[in-house]
């Protein structure tokens, strides 16, 4: 069983968690072009590597950031969102 460390609840089975994709800055919808908005809505950085992602520990509804190597399947760090994304 894979284990993920929740910043609030400690190490838990990964099945308790929900994945919500990479942390991505949102362009300003009022000033960006249609093309920029479409790029934000649809396109993803699909190549493997170390990524910062949103995860949620569902039983406690705790949202946090995980740094994960998507090629090696290793979670490097988990911490609460600091308002920097």
């Amino acid at each position: 069983m894979k284990i993920m460390t929740c910043p609030l609840n400690g190490p838990r089975p990964v099945s308790e968690f929900f994945y919500w994709g990479e942390v991505r800055p949102m362009p300003d919808p009022d000033s960006c072009t249609d093309a920029e908005w479409a790029d934000y809505v649809f396109n993803r950085n699909g190549a493997p590597g170390v990524k910062r992602e949103w995860w949620c520990h569902t039983p406690s509804n705790t949202w946090f950031i995980a740094e994960r190597d998507t090629e090696k399947d290793i979670v490097l760090k988990t911490y609460f969102y600091q308002g920097d994304a």
Partner: protein, 413 residues
């Protein structure tokens, strides 16, 4: 055909040459370079050689022939999709499948079994009626049937599914079939090889030379090749290749797992799929039950299988077929599925001139192998997308014109 097999019994030496020619060196240039020797890439090479007379073609493969998702899927072939684009496209593919064994002179074990998609809720049944009507409109055999028809086709089923998700009906698709997946890659590969296409296994693409927005060549682990046309047909490795040419797409990779049981006596003729229970199951010619579930829930570029998957899938399997409780699981594996937001592929031209994509095949690529090869060969030769694939172009995302095939994905992902 069966008489021909006698030669193998009567000859002391194996009476046929090896299936593929091995080439010691890459040439310095080719008319077309295809990345990925899976079903799709080899089919494109085959149709380039047979239908368009283009034989100076090289197929590059990082691993071995058919070792990616071609050899990792659950071999189901069907065309009961939801959108007009999807139905027409997959129906053409099913037609091509039916003649393939003869075209290749190779037994693909293509077996027409019939395909039931089970509905456990009213809303699922409603989507099936919709699918059936779209299918019938385009001449695809597809109808909604009641639970009794499911029971008749698969008498061992528990129609109540352990009491918690009773089967209300099913979408029945008579042309639903299975085929031997490796043989498909081998058949296309051998056909292309015999016509002069070079297949280079153990040859990894390291970079793609793009100058002034045009493809000029490919850098491989065995040297540089110059070419003006590159077809990328690499399924789960698509984002890595796209990074080399700096093209952005919505493709993201999730593993999709599958497993087979030990071989047992034939008892299941049709292919059964349950979207709500996340199960699909068929019995292979060898008697193994071939089973799959939904995608793994997060992005991962690896093909390790998990115990969580086996536990989840078997518990749902037992809801449907309680008598399987003593049957053993023999193998499990994973493939990297290249998913798109609208559950339709991304095919055709890209912003880079001479770089063509056959991707976004997620969990539905095997059945499309022949028609992908055919339409991509046409697209490469004419430099305009084949009429069957215009709805699958990459620019549909920047135009907000998505295809909406999710309702027909085999299980709710």
């Amino acid at each position: 055909m069966p008489w021909r097999l006698l030669r193998f019994a009567l000859n002391k030496k194996h009476p046929e040459p090896r299936m593929f020619t091995s080439h010691n060196k890459l040439k310095s240039s080719y008319d077309v370079v295809i990345i990925g020797a899976g079903g799709h890439g080899l089919a494109a090479a085959y149709y380039l050689a047979t239908e368009h007379g283009i034989k100076n073609v090289c197929v590059l493969e990082k691993g071995y022939i058919g070792g990616g998702n071609t050899g990792r899927n659950t071999t189901i072939i069907r065309s009961n999709y939801l959108t007009p684009e999807g139905v027409k496209f997959y129906d053409e593919s099913v037609r091509l499948w039916q003649d393939l064994s003869r075209d290749f002179d190779l037994n693909l074990f293509y077996a027409n079994r019939g395909h039931f998609t089970l509905a456990h809720t009213d809303s699922a049944l409603r989507t099936m009626r919709w699918r059936a009507e779209v299918n019938k409109h385009y001449g695809v055999a597809s109808e909604v049937v009641g639970p009794e028809a499911v029971k008749e086709a698969a008498p061992m089923i528990d129609l109540s599914c352990a009491g918690h998700s009773p089967i209300l009906g099913a979408l029945y698709h008579a042309p639903g079939s299975v085929a031997r997946h490796d043989a498909v890659a081998w058949g296309y590969g051998r056909g292309a090889d015999r016509r002069g296409v070079e297949i280079h296994q153990q040859t990894e693409v390291l970079g793609i030379n793009v100058q002034g927005g045009k493809v000029k060549g490919v850098n491989t682990s065995r040297g540089y090749i110059s070419t003006n046309k590159v077809l990328c047909a690499v399924a789960g490795s698509t984002p890595r290749i796209l990074k080399m040419v700096d093209v952005r797409t919505p493709i993201y990779i999730h593993p999709l797992q599958a497993m087979v049981s030990e071989p047992i006596k034939p008892w299941l003729d049709p292919i059964l799929v349950s979207g709500s229970l996340h199960v699909y199951i068929s019995q292979s010619a060898r008697g193994e039950l071939v089973m799959g579930a939904s995608l793994d829930p997060y992005e991962l570029h690896a093909t390790r299988s998990t115990l969580d998957f086996v536990e989840g899938l078997t518990s749902h399997m037992l809801d449907m077929f309680p008598f399987l409780s003593s049957v053993k699981v023999m193998r499990q594996w994973a493939g990297m599925a290249d998913m798109t937001p609208d559950f339709a592929p991304i095919m055709g031209k890209t912003p880079v001139e001479g770089f063509y994509l056959d991707s976004g095949w997620g969990t539905w690529g095997f059945k499309a192998t022949p028609v992908c090869g055919k339409t991509m060969a046409h697209t490469l030769v004419n430099d305009t997308p084949h009429p069957l694939i215009t709805g699958f172009s990459l620019d549909r995302f920047s135009n907000y014109a998505l295809t909406g095939e999710k309702g027909a994905a085999s299980v709710g992902h």
